[in-house]
Symmetry: C2
Subunit: 148 residues, 2 copies
């Protein structure tokens, strides 16, 4: 099992969101080689503009482990996290963050561009983008095209 | 009723957090001159490092109103929001954010300092700091002194 495998799991979540007419972003939290938590965007269903895939997956992981920190875990998410989600990942002290497609409009670099160093992630978090990015981006494009 | 009145309400929440041995930060959401939601830090109780006062108050306000946006509301919080909470407030499109004490270590400017413009808040959000800041700061100092 590798990064592509777990991003496929996150893509499954993103497709669930698409079917529910939610912005199609999905996330999984992985620890010890297995998925311990899943989440997809539910801002419409929950009437909560902060109910992003990453937040739902993180909360589920905290509950599952009974721990408020996730240094041994990795989060896979289909689209670059926004600033709120990057901030949540910071607090979780998660070991790795792997994302698929970049998000120029809403990604964590929104408004300020690249900042040197680990900001806004935790200094001990390893960040990687671009895994299955085209698959992840296609879902988003299809969704927003259907909304026009 | 003015900003000091509503910050006192947020301080009540912060004192509840203190009594529960949580970092003493409290928040209220105000709309139409009354408090519609409250929250205080619950990171220990919930084993969730993202369970900040602002997040809990926002989620409660979304539920109360059945709306995922809060343009007519104001959030009062005893301490400068962190980047995660600032990001959550961005998504909520809240009308005003009023905070008490500054937080050099964990406030939203952590790591990068002041950025021109409304970042990271929504362009339509009015931001104000320094309301009852000493009362808000004293609680934090007492809490962390008791931990040393």
């Amino acid at each position: 099992m590798n990064d592509e495998y777990f991003m496929q799991q996150a893509l499954k979540e993103a497709r669930l969101a698409f079917e529910e007419d939610e912005v199609p972003i999905g996330a999984v939290v992985v620890m010890g080689g297995r998925v311990i938590a899943r989440g997809h965007n539910q801002t419409e269903r929950l009437n909560d503009s902060t109910a992003h895939a990453e937040i739902i997956a993180l909360t589920s992981a905290f509950n599952h482990l009974g721990s408020k920190y996730l240094p041994e875990a990795a989060l896979y998410v289909t689209v670059e996290p926004c600033l709120m989600c990057a901030g949540a990942l910071y607090w979780s002290k998660i070991g790795r963050v792997v994302f698929g497609a970049e998000d120029e409009k809403n990604g964590y670099r929104r408004g300020i561009g690249d900042v040197p160093g680990p900001w806004p992630f935790h200094p001990r978090t390893v960040l990687m983008g671009g895994v299955l990015s085209e698959d992840c981006a296609v879902l988003m494009r299809e969704f927003f095209r259907s909304k026009r």
